[in-house]
C-alpha cells in the first residue's frame, strides 16, 4: 500500500524566546489521515510546535511546510488565509467568542472564507447536530457546560473542512466523563480520514486517539512510538 501524502513537514526547526530554547532542531512529518499525539512535560515545547504548525508563530530557523506551503514565506494576511482554509484549532480553554451565540461562533470561520450565509448555516447546524449540541445553538458560551463548549470549539474547527485539525490539550479543562466524550469525537473524526495533531498531557487520550505518539523533552523529540 502506498504511503499517504505528507501533510506537515518540519525540518530542523529552532525556536528561541530570548535565551530560552523552546524547540531545538525538530524534524517531524505528519501524513494525511494520521493522528499524531505530541506529549511531554510542561515547557518541553509542545505548544510552541503547535503554534508553528498553526502559523501563529514563526520559527527562529528551519522550515515548517503544511500542505505544500512553506509558512515562513507567508505574510500575516496569507497566514490568516492559511488558517482559515487549511487548519482547524481546538483549544484547552475553548476560546469561543463570548459575544456570539454558539451557531454564530461556529459559522464565523465559514463567513471568513466567503461561504454564503445559508450554506454556512446549514453546515454549522449539521455539525452541531452531529456533535449533539444542536439544541444549544442559540446559547452564549457562558451558558454552556465545559463539554458543550469544547464540542462547539470542535464544530468551529471543522467548519471549513480543514486538512489538519490541531488540538491543544482538548481534554485538559474537562472532567473525565466529558473528556471521554471528546476523545470519542476525535477518534471518530480520525476514522473518517481527518488528520489530527494533538498536544496533550493525557496518556489515555494519546493511547485512544493517536496512531503515533511523539514525546518531547527540552525542545527535542525524545521518542517516537506507534500505538
Amino acid at each position: 500500500m502506498a504511503e499517504a501524502e505528507v501533510l506537515v513537514q518540519l525540518s530542523a526547526v529552532y525556536k528561541r524566546y530570548g535565551e530560552t530554547v523552546a524547540l531545538d532542531g525538530v524534524d517531524l512529518t505528519v501524513r494525511q489521515g494520521e493522528s499524531v499525539a505530541v506529549m511531554g512535560p510542561s515547557g518541553s515545547g509542545k505548544s510552541t510546535l503547535l503554534n508553528l504548525v498553526a502559523g501563529l508563530d514563526r520559527p527562529t530557523s528551519g522550515t515548517v511546510t503544511v500542505h505544500g506551503e512553506e509558512l515562513s514565506a507567508l505574510g500575516e494576511g496569507a497566514l490568516a488565509r492559511y488558517r482559515r482554509r487549511r487548519i482547524g484549532m481546538v483549544f484547552q480553554f475553548f476560546h469561543l467568542l463570548d459575544d456570539l451565540p454558539v451557531l454564530d461562533n461556529v459559522m464565523l470561520s465559514a463567513r471568513l472564507v466567503g461561504t454564503p450565509h445559508k450554506q454556512a448555516r446549514a453546515r454549522a447546524l449539521g455539525l452541531l447536530e452531529e456533535l449533539g449540541i444542536a439544541a444549544r445553538k442559540d446559547a452564549y458560551p457562558s451558558q454552556l457546560s465545559g463539554g458543550e463548549r469544547q464540542r462547539a470549539g470542535v464544530a468551529r474547527a471543522l467548519m471549513n473542512r480543514p486538512a489538519l485539525l490541531l488540538a491543544d490539550e482538548p481534554t485538559g479543562a474537562l472532567d473525565s466523563r466529558t473528556g471521554e466524550q471528546v476523545m470519542d469525537l476525535l477518534l471518530d473524526l480520525n476514522q473518517i480520514g481527518q488528520t489530527l495533531l494533538i498536544v496533550t498531557h493525557d496518556q489515555r487520550l494519546a493511547e485512544r486517539c493517536a496512531s503515533r505518539v511523539i514525546n518531547f523533552e527540552d525542545g527535542k523529540v525524545s521518542e517516537l512510538e506507534s500505538v
Binding site: G77, A80, H95, D99, R111, L112, H117, R156
Partner: protein
C-alpha cells in the same frame, strides 16, 4: 466584511454597558462641543454679520425740519457714495408713560411706514408692524427681559397723541430709534427733526475719517444750520465687540475644555475596550482573521455607537444652542437674530467627532491588529509586576487591607490612570471655575443692586396708568395727588424707614462724549445708598460728582478734575470726587448741583430699620394714602448674567458627567481585569463591602490628586475670565469681585475631585461587591 461586521455588531450588542457609555459620552461631548462652537461663532463678529444681513446704516443724519424740507432731505440719497438710503423719517422725542415710565428718559420715536428699506431694515422679533394710528413698535435694545413678547398690548400715554399700544418689538442693528410709529403719529406728537439713514460702499465707510468724508458729501449743499446731528455705526460696533468679548472669552474656555475632556475620555474608553477584549483578538486571529480585519472589528465597535451618539448629540446641541441664542437675543442686543446654529457647523461637528473617535480608536485598534495570536491567547487579564514597590509599601502600611489594595490599583495601568486623572483634573477645575464665576457674578450684581442698602423704592407716577402693577409692587388708590416734598415726608414718616434718598433722573451733555450721559441727582441720605467706590469718595454736597469708568475714559478726566455738564441748556461745573463701580456711563450728583432741573417722576429709595421687612413696608405705603404711589422692591437682577450662568451651568454639568463617566469606565475596566484577584481575596475572607471599598478607594486616590491639581487651574481661569468680562464692560473690578474664594471654600472645592471620582466609582464598586467567587474562579 461579513465576518468583521458580525463580530463588531455582536460586540456592540452584547457589551451594552460599554456601548451605552461610548454613546452617552459622545452624545454629551458632541452637544457640548456644538453649543460651545456655535455660541462662539455667534459672538464672533456678530455685529458685522447682522449689519450686513439687515443692511445697517453706516451713517445717520438728523435734519432740523424747520430749516429744510423733506424733499430736500430725500434728495441727499442721490449724493456721491451713497449706495442705499432710508428716509426721510419724522423724529420726535417723548416720554412714554403708563404710571411707570418706559426707559430712563425721553425716547426717540421715528415715523416709519414699514420696517424695510434700503438702509437699516428692521426685523420684527415679536408682534407686528404699526399700521394704524396709536400703534407703536419698540426696540429690542431697550431690553425687555427674557420674554419681550409680554410688552405687546401694553398702552402708554404720549403727548398730543393720547394712547399708544405696543404692537411689536423690532431689532435695529443701527439703533436708529427707540420706537417707531406711523409718520403721521410722530408728526402729531411733535416732530422736530427729520432722520435720514445712509449706506455707503463698505470700503468707503471703514473708518471715522472715511465716514466724515462721506457725510460731507451727503450734506454738501444743505444749509449748514439744517444739520441737527450725525451719528455713525462705529460706536455701536465697538460696543458690540466689547459684549462679544465677554461671551467669547468664557465660551472659548468651555469649548476647549469640552474638546480636551472628550478626547481624553474617548481615548480612555476606546483603549480600555481594546485591552478588555485582548483574548478575543487572539481567538479572532487563530480562526483566520487578518490583522486588518481585527483592526476593522475594533474600529467598528467604537465608531458604531459613536455615530449614533454623535447624531443624538447634534440634535441636543442644536436644541440647546437655539434656546441659548434665543436667550442671548433677548438679553444681549448685539447678537445676530438667527437662533438656529449654522448647518455648516452641525455638519462639521457630525464629521469631526466620529473622525476624532476613529482616530482615537485607531491607535489601540492597530495595536490589536499587530498583536500576535499567541501573545493575546496566553496573556493574563491584567499586567503583573507593575508598581510592585508601591504595592509592597502599601501592604506594609497600617491602612486597612481593602484600602491599601485599592490604592495600589491605579499603579497597574499607568496610561489609563493618567488619562482618568486628567479627566478628573479638568472636571475639578471646571467645578472650581464655575462656582467662582457664579460667585463673582453674584457679587457684581449685589454691588449694583445694593440690596443691603436699599430695600424699597417708591414712585409717584402721573395720573392714569395701571391700577394693577407687576410682581411685588403695590399701588395706592388714586385720589389726592402729592407733591414731591409731601411724598418724601410721607415715606419718612412710615415706621421702619431708616433713611430716604430721592433720586431725580436726567441727562446731560458732556464735552468729549457724543451721546448724552445719564444723570442721577440725589437728595437726602445718598451716602447710605451703598455705591461701590473704586477710587476717591462719594459726593458730599453741591459741586461734586461721582462718575462711572466710561465717563473717565471717554473724557480723559481723573479724580480731582472738573467736569462741565450741560443740563437742560445750563452749564454746570462739578469736581469729580470718585469713580463708581458700574457698567454705565453715569454721573452722580447732589440734587443741590442741579436744583433747577425739572423733576421727572423722582424715585424714593428707602433703607429699612432692622426688623422691618420690605413686604411690610410696601403694604404700609400702599395702605397709607390715596395718592397713587407705587412701592416696590428694587430689581434684583441688574446684570445680564442670568443667561451666561445658565450656559456655564449646562456646560459644566455636561463636562462633569463626561468626566464622571470616564472615571466610572476606568473603575469598571479595573474591576473586570481584577475579577480573578477579587475572587481570590474574597475566597480568603474579604467581604463584599471591603471589595467595594477597594474599588472606591482606587478612584478616590485619583480624585484627591485631581482635586489638588484642578484647583489652581480653576481659580486662574475664574480670575482671567472675570477680568475679561470687566474689561468688556468697560470697568475696573473691585477686588471683592475678583477674589471670591475663601479658605474654607477652597478646602471644600479641593474635595470636588474626590466627589467626582467617588460618585462615579460607586456603581462599579457595587459590581465588584457582587462578583461571585466561584463563578469568577471557574471561568477565568
Amino acid at each position: 466584511m461579513g465576518a468583521t461586521w458580525s463580530i463588531a455588531r455582536a460586540a456592540v450588542r452584547r457589551r451594552r454597558g460599554q456601548t451605552v457609555l461610548i454613546g452617552v459620552i459622545v452624545t454629551l461631548c458632541t452637544a457640548a462641543l456644538l453649543i460651545g462652537i456655535a455660541l462662539l461663532a455667534a459672538v464672533t463678529g456678530p455685529f458685522d454679520r447682522t449689519f450686513a444681513q439687515l443692511h445697517g446704516a453706516h451713517a445717520t443724519v438728523l435734519y432740523d425740519s424747520t430749516k429744510i424740507t423733506d424733499d430736500r432731505v430725500g434728495a441727499t440719497a442721490q449724493a456721491d457714495g451713497v449706495v442705499a438710503a432710508s428716509g426721510p423719517f419724522p423724529m420726535a422725542s417723548a416720554q412714554l408713560q403708563n404710571g411707570m415710565q418706559m426707559g430712563a428718559g425721553p425716547m426717540r420715536i421715528a415715523g416709519r411706514a414699514e420696517p424695510g428699506g434700503g438702509a437699516d431694515q428692521l426685523r420684527l422679533t415679536h408682534g407686528r408692524w404699526a399700521t394704524a394710528t396709536g400703534e407703536i413698535v419698540v426696540g429690542t435694545h431697550l431690553r425687555w427681559g427674557p420674554d419681550p413678547g409680554r410688552i405687546l398690548g401694553r398702552t402708554y400715554t404720549l403727548p398730543n397723541l393720547g394712547t399708544a399700544t405696543v404692537v411689536g418689538v423690532a431689532y435695529s442693528v443701527t439703533q436708529s430709534a427707540d420706537a417707531w410709529m406711523r409718520p403721521d403719529d410722530v408728526r402729531r406728537i411733535g416732530a422736530t427733526s427729520t432722520q435720514m439713514l445712509y449706506r455707503f460702499a463698505p470700503e468707503s465707510a471703514a473708518t471715522a475719517a472715511h465716514l466724515e468724508q462721506r457725510l460731507a458729501a451727503v450734506t454738501a449743499g444743505v444749509p449748514t444750520d439744517a444739520v441737527a446731528g450725525t451719528g455713525d455705526y462705529l460706536t455701536n460696533r465697538e460696543r458690540a465687540g466689547q459684549r462679544a468679548k465677554t461671551l467669547s472669552s468664557f465660551l472659548t474656555v468651555f469649548a476647549v475644555l469640552s474638546l480636551i475632556v472628550a478626547v481624553l475620555v474617548i481615548g480612555n474608553v476606546v483603549s480600555g475596550a481594546v485591552i478588555a477584549g485582548y483574548r478575543s483578538i487572539g481567538v479572532l486571529k487563530a480562526i483566520g482573521f487578518t490583522p486588518g480585519q481585527v483592526t476593522a472589528v475594533y474600529l467598528l465597535m467604537m465608531t458604531g455607537p459613536a455615530l449614533i451618539g454623535c447624531a443624538v448629540g447634534a440634535v441636543l446641541g442644536n436644541l440647546g444652542t437655539s434656546w441659548l441664542l434665543e436667550q442671548f437675543q433677548n438679553n444681549v442686543y448685539v447678537l445676530g437674530l438667527d437662533t438656529t446654529p449654522s448647518p455648516v457647523l452641525t455638519v462639521a461637528v457630525l464629521v469631526a467627532v466620529p473622525v476624532l473617535v476613529a482616530v482615537t480608536a485607531l491607535v489601540p485598534a492597530l495595536r490589536a491588529g499587530r498583536t500576535t495570536a499567541t501573545a493575546a491567547l496566553s496573556a493574563v487579564a491584567s499586567p503583573t509586576g507593575r508598581g510592585r514597590a508601591v504595592q509592597r509599601l502599601l501592604s506594609r502600611s497600617r491602612l486597612p487591607r481593602a484600602v491599601s489594595l485599592g490604592l495600589a490599583l491605579p499603579v497597574v495601568r499607568p496610561a489609563r490612570t493618567l488619562l482618568t486623572l486628567l479627566a478628573v483634573v479638568l472636571g475639578s477645575a471646571t467645578v472650581v471655575f464655575s462656582i467662582g464665576l457664579t460667585e463673582s457674578a453674584g457679587r457684581w450684581n449685589d454691588a449694583l443692586v445694593r440690596a443691603d442698602h436699599v430695600q424699597v423704592q417708591v414712585m409717584n407716577p402721573p395720573p392714569g396708568g395701571p391700577t394693577e402693577v407687576e410682581g411685588e409692587a403695590r399701588r395706592q388708590p388714586e385720589g389726592t395727588r402729592m407733591t414731591d416734598p409731601e411724598v418724601e415726608a410721607f415715606v419718612r414718616g412710615i415706621p421702619g424707614a431708616r433713611y430716604v434718598t430721592t433720586l431725580f433722573y436726567g441727562d446731560a451733555a458732556v464735552a468729549g462724549i457724543t451721546e448724552n450721559v445719564d444723570l442721577n441727582a440725589y437728595r437726602g441720605d445718598s451716602a447710605q445708598l451703598g455705591y461701590e467706590i473704586l477710587e476717591g469718595r462719594w459726593i458730599s454736597g453741591a459741586g461734586e460728582a461721582a462718575v462711572g469708568a466710561e465717563v473717565l475714559r471717554l473724557t480723559g478726566k481723573s479724580i480731582g478734575d472738573s467736569l462741565t455738564l450741560t443740563v437742560e441748556g445750563r452749564t454746570v461745573v462739578v469736581r469729580i470726587v470718585g469713580e463708581i463701580f458700574g457698567v454705565h456711563s453715569e454721573v452722580y450728583l447732589d440734587w443741590a448741583s442741579v436744583s433747577f432741573m425739572e423733576p421727572r417722576m423722582p424715585v424714593y429709595f428707602v433703607g429699612l430699620s432692622p426688623g422691618t421687612t420690605a413686604d411690610r413696608f410696601i403694604e404700609q405705603v400702599a395702605g397709607g394714602g390715596d395718592a397713587g404711589l407705587i412701592a416696590t422692591t428694587p430689581d434684583d437682577d441688574e446684570i445680564d448674567m442670568a443667561v451666561l450662568l445658565s450656559v456655564v451651568g449646562a456646560l459644566t454639568a455636561a463636562l462633569l458627567v463626561v468626566a464622571g463617566l470616564g472615571v466610572a469606565h476606568t473603575a469598571v475596566l479595573n474591576t473586570r481585569e481584577r475579577r480573578r484577584d477579587l475572587a481570590i481575596v474574597k475566597s480568603v475572607g474579604m467581604t463584599p463591602a471591603q471589595a467595594a471599598v477597594m474599588v472606591v478607594t482606587s478612584m478616590a486616590a485619583l480624585g484627591i490628586l485631581g482635586g489638588v491639581l484642578g484647583l489652581p487651574g480653576g481659580v486662574a481661569a475664574q480670575r482671567q475670565i472675570i477680568q475679561l468680562i470687566g474689561e468688556a464692560a468697560g470697568t475696573r473690578l473691585p477686588q471683592g469681585i475678583v477674589d471670591v474664594y475663601t479658605a474654607p471654600q477652597l478646602a471644600v472645592l479641593l474635595l470636588s475631585g474626590v466627589l467626582i471620582a467617588v460618585l462615579s466609582a460607586l456603581l462599579p464598586a457595587r459590581q465588584a461587591a457582587r462578583i461571585s467567587t466561584a463563578e469568577a474562579l471557574h471561568t477565568e
